[in-house]
Subunit: 338 residues, 2 copies
């Protein structure tokens, strides 16, 4: 220690700091591939070139860290969405759990079919049936009670065919993109059609995205004092549907800056990608194209879930990056690693 | 440099890093008073004791950095609000600027009185009149056009009696609180009844609070494609009134975590303070009490603007911190420093 402090005095703190900075910088430059689950190709190259240019100080494309906002859809972009949105599996599990308190559901659609195990018949009622299922299962409790219900479900429920927890069905290559952007001083947001309070309880652990950076569809709520403590109660009424034109509107409301990069996978993300790319300066948009029937699912223009039709045309016209899941991704889910 | 690298090899990088960390830590502990514009007293002591305990690792009151959320009202808490909310001065200036395009205003209240310079008569119409003035001046343009209008106004307009730019009328002691909390890994948010898009254009420069951490009242908006570029247009319709029970609701919607500290000055902030303080663990609530008729303004229980009545009673009952502006603050505005 004596020798060390002599050197500190001799060379001065500043010189030493500069040297250490140099060493750290060198270590960084030698670091390994930030996107190891991506095959070399146009998609990987496009994202890396974009990040390189907006982070290069003095370049005309440089963007200050505070303005490096990136938005991600969730269903089909960060985790799978087949054979139906995972939140619907949650809702159906909740119908089963709540059925003893609702004897009337035995004779009332869509609940009757659900309780008999006939999901297809239950969902035959279309959007109206889905909304009824959501409202019956997502309202009536405090926000803190709902958070616990979601946490319990995420910890236990499994996907019917993959036999994995739903949060295991997240895309390893997209987790790498999130990490890579944050390592380059981007702030990453989820902007999803899914329920904002359905995603927040696990988004931080799974994606590294804190609650305040999760934007989604929402229910109306009511503030109440119960036994001298304040609570917020979830009401069975839609507040905001965060899909299509709803996405740029909620981005403006919630973030207040135009993202410089945006990631989606369906026509529901089209307006978000348009919003991000029509600002000034360097911009980046990416569509995940589901092309891998073997390792994940293959669907696009005619799918009832995650339809990608207009978006594919717009991506071609605008030169957006389209990920070919089958060719571009070495692995799909983290559990496939090694 | 040769000697230095010898030492680096000899002692190893880790040991050296630890030493540097120790030096930095020592420098930090020796730093000066973080709240120099606060007189010693109960209020200053309360905030500093709170921050000390929630940041002390191993303590039962320790709060991880990600959960250190602090919310601040704006009008009357971070800047002045007399003789009327500053946003209303903005709206009136806009009425004057837009009058040539609206010949019909000459014969239509509340515009006719405003254009004659009789603000009192114009506002005699109460909330309805104010809403009409706001809608006529805050809608019809894109969000980016509105941002520029606000920036131009903030850069030029002056308070009628203080003869200062409005952003000079921010409270120096509260700026110090914001800095102090952020230095202790708090995330600071504005949660104001003011317009979200009226505050965002200058909140980052003035308060160090980025747009995504500003929550406020909002108008409805519409997404449009104009000449191949996407824009968001502001509509003359209220989307959300961020006052009273609206504050905890918007905090839940926007932040998704209960704040552990909350700062306000009026009954409009009461529910926000209740929401923050009725969570588990250490909590902090503070009311700025306007007691300084000489350096600022003095008002509370009977004021039409920034009324603080129920809140004063609740603060006493709950043991919240109440700042006596006259006694607790050495200076009010930054320009009074030195």
């Amino acid at each position: 220690m004596k020798q060390l402090s002599t050197v500190l005095r001799k060379f001065g703190f500043v010189l030493l700091s500069l040297t250490l900075f140099g060493l750290a910088h060198q270590a960084n430059a030698q670091s390994t591939d930030p996107l190891p689950s991506w095959n070399e190709g146009k998609a990987k190259q496009a994202i890396m070139q974009f990040v390189a240019k907006v982070t290069k100080e003095g370049s005309s494309d440089f963007v200050p860290p505070a303005e490096r906002i990136a938005t991600f859809d969730n269903d089909g972009c960060l985790w799978s969405e087949q054979p139906m949105y995972f939140q619907l599996f949650f809702a159906i599990d909740r119908v089963k759990a709540l059925a003893p308190q609702h004897p009337e559901w035995k004779n009332k659609e869509p609940f009757a079919s659900l309780l008999k195990g006939d999901v297809k018949a239950a969902l035959a009622g279309g959007e109206h049936a889905i909304l009824e299922i959501i409202m019956a299962t997502h309202a009536g409790m405090t926000t803190e009670e709902f958070e616990q219900i979601v946490k319990d479900w995420v910890a236990t429920a499994k996907h019917p065919t993959r036999k994995r927890h739903y949060t295991e069905l997240v895309y390893q290559p997209m987790l790498e993109i999130l990490d890579y952007l944050r390592a380059n001083d981007f702030k990453t947001f989820i902007v999803s059609g899914g329920g904002i309070e359905f995603m927040r309880p696990w988004a931080e652990a799974v994606y590294g995205i804190p609650p305040e950076q999760v934007v989604g569809s929402s229910s109306k709520t009511r503030f109440e004092i119960r036994d001298g403590k304040s609570v917020i109660v979830r009401l069975p009424e839609l507040n905001f549907m965060n899909d299509k034109v709803g996405k740029p509107i909620s981005i403006n409301q919630h973030i207040g800056r135009r993202p410089i990069a945006s990631f989606g996978n369906s026509d529901g993300d089209l307006q978000m990608l348009q919003w991000a790319t029509s600002g000034e300066g360097a911009r980046f948009a990416l569509y995940v194209h589901h092309t891998d029937a073997e390792r994940e699912w293959a669907y696009d223009r005619k799918s009832s879930i995650g339809k990608l039709d207009k978006g594919l045309d717009e991506a071609k016209k605008e030169g957006w990056t389209v990920v070919d899941m089958k060719k571009d991704w070495k692995v799909i889910y983290p559990y496939m690693l090694k």
